[in-house]
């Protein structure tokens, strides 16, 4: 007998993360996946879709509303419980730390849902890593810009070559046990104060 594949509802205001989850679910063979970004009218959607599993991000402020709805049988035909409540402590921690939570209809066997939760956790973590890397790349670019400006100031005011200006910044940073970008920022700020035309 072929088991009916599970219907999954993903609630996430972050469109990119939601599509990453959706792609993961489809790769894992779940074809009945619905993604919702906005919880307006969610009760009607849940009644239409009748999801077996609901995946939601923890930053969503509507969790209290959803949990209340899950307990009201008038809205959802089958009672929905929090998945991790019946799971092991490690799963609970992994889910909360990844920033995701899952709810399942009562009576669904845990081993059928566990892979979905695990997949959501790993995709949430991957998304956070990606966001962090983007942020790092962005701040690296900012750092490089401010270092270039500091080098320019040193080259003009002290007649140094570009290499000498950079060496001076690096040496100062090492002596003060600070980052080059911090020294560069201080220099740019100070130059701006001394000569408003400079910054």
């Amino acid at each position: 007998m072929i088991r009916k594949s599970l219907t999954v509802l993903v609630i996430d205001e972050n469109h990119i993360r939601a599509s990453i989850i959706e792609a993961g679910l489809r790769e894992a063979g779940h074809e009945q996946v619905t993604v919702v970004h906005d919880v307006a009218g969610i009760a009607r959607r849940i009644a239409e879709i009748e999801p077996d599993v609901i995946v939601i991000d923890l930053e969503n402020p509507n969790r209290d509303m959803l949990e209340n709805m899950f307990q009201l049988s008038r809205v959802v035909k089958r009672p929905i419980a929090m998945f991790v409540d019946r799971s092991d402590q490690a799963s609970i921690e992994a889910a909360v730390e990844a920033g995701v939570s899952a709810y399942v209809v009562d009576g669904l066997r845990q081993e059928r849902v566990k892979p979905i939760l695990d997949m959501a956790i790993s995709r949430f973590n991957a998304f956070s890593r990606m966001a962090r890397e983007l942020e790092e790349a962005r701040s690296e670019l900012e750092d490089r810009k401010v270092i270039d400006r500091a080098k320019g100031i040193l080259m003009r005011s002290r007649g140094l070559s570009e290499d000498a200006a950079y060496t001076l910044l690096r040496k100062t940073a090492m002596n003060q046990n600070r980052k080059i970008s911090e020294i560069a920022q201080s220099l740019v700020t100070a130059a701006g104060l001394l000569d408003p035309g400079e910054s």
Binding site: A40, L58, E59, N60, P61, N62, R63, D64, M65, E67, N68, M69, Q71, A81, M82, V84, D85, Q89, I92, E93, V96, S101
Partner: protein, 412 residues
């Protein structure tokens, strides 16, 4: 000097997190050797989850929430205790301008009188029902909240059945004003500043307030993971002393400006200091140009506001039973009573020599005027603590209270 105790706490952006915020930001925690880390959360469910897995040792919680946890009414329920209350009052019932106009046509006045506004609302609801209109939709912040229970108490005392004649939905406090303005809800019960936000926007009218439905009534608490409290009694005592000093500071009118500016910061409420003033002064703009000053609108310290009365826990429990959230039994009642821990409050504050209540529970609604109590003479004042319908809640006679079937006030 490194702090002796590290404590992680969660809070929701509501003004009544002020005592926790002041404990950290004004330095009361540091003075007690506590390094208090505060994390802002977006839902009560997140607070509960992070308490359960140990991210937080304690948190700003709705008064009934720890009781619901101990009764197993929520997922991820972990044993939670309440050694400190974060204040009395502070909530309002705000309705849309359309609904207010309808209520005014039925006799409601901008005086916050729960009986008068409730009677007008009842008349309007029956008029709508007879003309086939949809039931009104009211929002509260959580099913296990003072807001849910006081809204229902008010309506039922005014002859309105909240289970059948209106719809009650859950909306997070920061979204209330938008939901009201967009017409998704007709009214809501929430803590400040989320009522004044609607009034200032011109999209809502404050109909009545918690402080008139039930004077000096309980609201938020500090919920502590029981296992953590048992393992770190000294850290908890130090924190409770810090919170005591912070609460006293928050109550002092001389600090209102500084407290409003502190709570206005983006990491706390992220709203203008002016919006923090109504809860601090009790002077409310009601909408439509009406203003009123409410006595004891919000008490972060006065009138034993921080004492975790067992009678408060038991009243919340009776409301859970009343609205079908839990079955009444001696065991359930015991769990609710044991959730609030005045013994821990007393033990922590004893070295400070401050006046403490003589009992752990009181008959709610018995004091019609401010009354000096306690062995230290006039140093501790309680009440008035009356329910607007004149009913009394005696924590020793719970069965009688639960047996009441007709909650409506006599009409006259």
């Amino acid at each position: 000097m490194a702090a002796e105790h590290q404590i992680n706490a969660g809070f929701i952006p509501l003004f009544d997190s002020a005592v926790l915020v002041a404990a950290r930001e004004i330095g009361f925690a540091a003075r007690e050797g506590v390094d208090l880390t505060l994390s802002r959360e977006t839902s009560w469910a997140n607070i509960r989850d992070r308490i359960a897995i140990g991210h937080f040792d304690l948190a700003h919680m709705l008064g009934p929430m720890p009781i619901a946890c101990n009764l197993g009414l929520t997922p991820l329920a972990s044993d939670t205790i309440v050694p400190f209350s974060l204040g009395l009052g502070g909530n309002c019932v705000t309705v849309s301008n359309t609904l207010w106009a309808g209520m005014a046509a039925h006799g409601a006045l901008p005086d916050l009188d729960p009986a008068r506004t409730g009677k007008a609302l009842g008349a309007l609801i029956r008029e709508r029902a007879s003309s086939g209109g949809d039931p009104l939709r009211f929002a509260v912040v959580h099913p296990h909240s003072g807001h849910n229970y006081e809204l229902r108490y008010w309506l039922a005392a005014c002859g309105i059945d909240p289970a059948r004649e209106i719809e009650v939905v859950i909306v997070p406090p920061p979204f209330m004003a938008d939901a009201l303005a967009a017409g998704r809800i007709d009214g809501y019960c929430a803590g400040e500043p989320w009522n004044s936000v609607s009034v200032v926007a011109g999209t809502g009218h404050i109909a009545t307030v918690k402080a008139t439905i039930w004077k000096t009534s309980p609201e938020k608490v500090v919920g502590v993971r029981k296992a953590w409290a048992e393992k770190h009694p000294e850290a908890l005592s130090a924190l409770l002393r810090a919170l005591h000093h912070a609460a006293r500071w928050c109550q002092d009118p001389a600090n209102r400006g500084e407290l409003a500016a502190l709570m206005a910061q983006p990491s706390f409420l992220g709203l203008s200091p002016a919006l923090q003033m109504p809860i601090l002064t009790g002077h409310l703009a009601l909408g439509g140009g009406s203003e009123l000053t409410v006595e004891d609108f919000f008490l972060p310290f006065g009138k034993a506001a921080n004492f975790p009365w067992k009678s408060h826990a038991l009243w919340f429990y009776t409301q859970m039973v009343r609205w079908g959230q839990v079955k009444h039994s001696a065991a359930h009642m015991g769990l609710a009573r044991d959730t609030y821990r005045p013994d821990l409050y007393r033990a922590a504050l004893k070295p400070l020599g401050v006046a403490l209540p003589g009992a752990n529970a009181k008959v709610e609604g018995a004091l019609t005027a401010a009354t000096p109590v306690g062995s230290a003479g006039a140093s501790l004042v309680l009440g008035p603590d009356g329910f607007f319908d004149g009913r009394i809640f005696d924590p020793d006679r719970i069965d009688d209270y639960l047996a009441i079937r007709d909650w409506a006030m006599p009409t006259g």
